[in-house]
Symmetry: C2
Subunit: 351 residues, 2 copies
DNA sequence: GTGCTCCGTGGGATCGATTGCACAGCACGG
DNA sequence: CCGTGCTGTGCAATCGATCCCACGGAGCAC
């Protein structure tokens, strides 16, 4: 047809076709109030016949609910984050909420712009893996009555609830495993102190050492960004020392790639010369040569619980007068678990 | 404060504070029509003072533009897809469009529900990595005047434009590389014939063989799902044969994990006993032992071009009378490139 | 028969922005 | 001095759904 533009069917037209008023049609289709069975049928068949699709924009304007949730995340490449994103999206969708995806690439300026934008879109909730540089803006979002869930990271002064990995416990688990195998010279490659996971994993590392009566050796600790090159460089330096470690705890999977590359380059055999634990699961670790022992931080559960917590807050919002104060920011910790594979073994020459 | 609910500032209030009418305030803030410099300043300062944030829902109702784009994708775990998603999101955001993320997990029922939902949200565009089971619904979307871009896959009868990887060429490139090294017994592990990339990569495989005067040996061809277990099982079977291949083309990175696991388990050394090419880059392939030769299908460009093409269609929509017919579905192919690393070498005993 | 409740339905205001139309004021040319 | 055109502004309709309020009629008790 010529000029047959994209004409959307409105509620009015459905109502007219069914011979009832707009109000009644609305009641039938949103199923709120009681309607006679006959009217119901008439409206439903009219809607179907005309191919009616409700306009969520109009509906959102009136009800002040967008059915949108903002997900502000630093990246998707990291193994945990894309898994978390998938789970989150699915759980939220099951309850009628859609995800507005915002990847910040850890850039505070982008993060800030996204937060403003999400405010403009009147999202019903916000899940954020934050850089920590925009807590003021996040507070604005929260103050606007929008529930906020901090995921993986809870910057100082951040409003809302938090769903966090048990980073400290996980690291302790991993390092104690190495100590139990008999290692005494355990190296640490981990993230910056400015990030929650960096700080907490280091704390777990030292805590485990302490239970064995050891103190961290500064020469065996490398702290820097969670990147492949950093891991490679750190591993190079550690293994080139006069007295190289017999075991290595690597706090992140990206860095671990760098480590593995460096080890191949140096000809260091795992686990014969070096036992290796990575604090983060990745789909290929079970297939590595050798399969890598890891700490699984429960990415699936993190996504699941973050979605659940947000939905809880959204649900309880219309009821009570003051929105967020009811729980004063709940903190949920997701347990970590050690998965022992073949990259860890007893040291060859116990000291 | 008690009872200080989340009161949003409206345009009316800004207008009143600035001493002008709603229309004028709107004109200033959306910068459409000419306004005197003085009024402009007054409105802008009032807006800033009150912390005004435009309500995109209301705006969307009036303008019939949601500034939302639906991204329907089978999963995020696959290396290419999360990279593509990141790039897409960034490019669309730069032009003022936000991404509504929908992960189908290749489930046609979920896909269908998402398409309906996106229609209800009145998205301004749709980018879809489709299952191929809902072309009718996608046509509805397109018929509603919403530009559609098919990504990676273009099911038969799909409306809209397509941005595709050069799967056939890429596979041919990879296999020719193996043939050039002297291999004559080249195995194929690839996807189902029902998926574009499965079909095209197989076509490239046979085409390359043909240039060397060879025909595909059914005993050396495994076709099945793009999964780790399938790759493992296929590799097991292929290498257990009386006359195992000297080279292997693996059409997908997930299957390649399985292959690598199986090879480790069987004690097959790469590349000494088997040369291996994977048709898909993954961040860890350069760090594998040995680093894996791959065909990079240009994920970054795929995202980039899909966003660009969609934006082009969105921009050209209000101008011309009939929405999509102007280009009758443009097909954009993104070039592939071979990255030679250490997993491929000449066969030990050329036949 | 009167008064009451309850049910199903319709009328119409409303959410917050955009935009066509009209009009006031001013400048300028004839 | 008047007509014409341009600029800046305001009025009010509009987008499409939701939902408060009111109303007619049925059923029932006294």
């Amino acid at each position: 047809m010529i000029g047959g533009g994209p004409v959307a069917v409105t509620l009015d037209e459905v109502a007219e076709a069914a011979g009832v008023s707009k109000s009644t049609a609305s009641r039938v289709l949103s199923g709120s109030s009681r309607v006679s069975a006959q009217t119901k049928r008439a409206v439903q068949s009219a809607a179907e016949r005309l191919g009616y699709r409700p306009n969520r924009i109009a509906s959102g304007l009136r009800t002040r609910r967008s059915n949108l949730v903002g997900l502000v995340i630093t990246n998707l490449v990291n193994a945990s984050f894309h898994r978390i994103t998938e789970v989150l999206q699915q759980r939220l969708d099951e309850r009628g909420y859609q995800v507005l995806l915002c990847v910040t690439d850890s850039d505070p300026a982008r993060e800030r712009r996204y937060l403003d934008m999400l405010l403009d879109h009147r999202v019903d909730g916000l899940i954020i893996v934050g850089t920590g540089d925009n807590t003021a803006t996040v507070r604005e979002v929260s103050a606007a009555g929008i529930p906020v869930v901090n995921l993986m990271r809870t910057p100082d002064g951040a409003p809302g609830d938090s769903v966090m990995a048990a980073d400290r416990d996980g690291a302790e688990l991993a390092v104690r495993h190495l100590l139990d195998l008999g290692h005494r010279s355990v190296a640490f490659i981990g993230g910056p102190a400015g990030v929650d996971s960096g700080r907490d994993r280091y704390a777990g590392f030292t805590a485990a050492l302490a239970t064995a009566g050891l103190e961290p050796d500064p020469a065996l600790c490398a702290r820097g960004p969670f990147t492949v090159p950093f891991g490679a460089e750190a591993a190079m330096r550690l293994m080139a020392a006069d007295n190289p470690p017999t075991a290595l705890y690597s706090a992140n999977h990206e860095a671990t790639f760098g480590v593995l590359g460096a080890l191949v380059q140096l000809g260091v055999r795992v686990p014969e010369q070096l036992s290796l634990v990575c604090h983060e699961e990745a789909p290929w670790f079970p297939y590595w040569h050798p399969p890598i022992t890891v700490v699984d931080n429960g990415a699936r559960d993190l996504g699941e619980l973050a979605a659940e917590q947000l939905l809880r807050r959204i649900d309880s919002r219309p009821d009570n007068g003051d929105p967020g104060e009811g729980g004063v920011g709940r903190l949920i910790r997701v347990g970590s678990r050690l998965v022992v594979r073949d990259s860890t073994t007893a040291p060859r020459r116990p000291e």
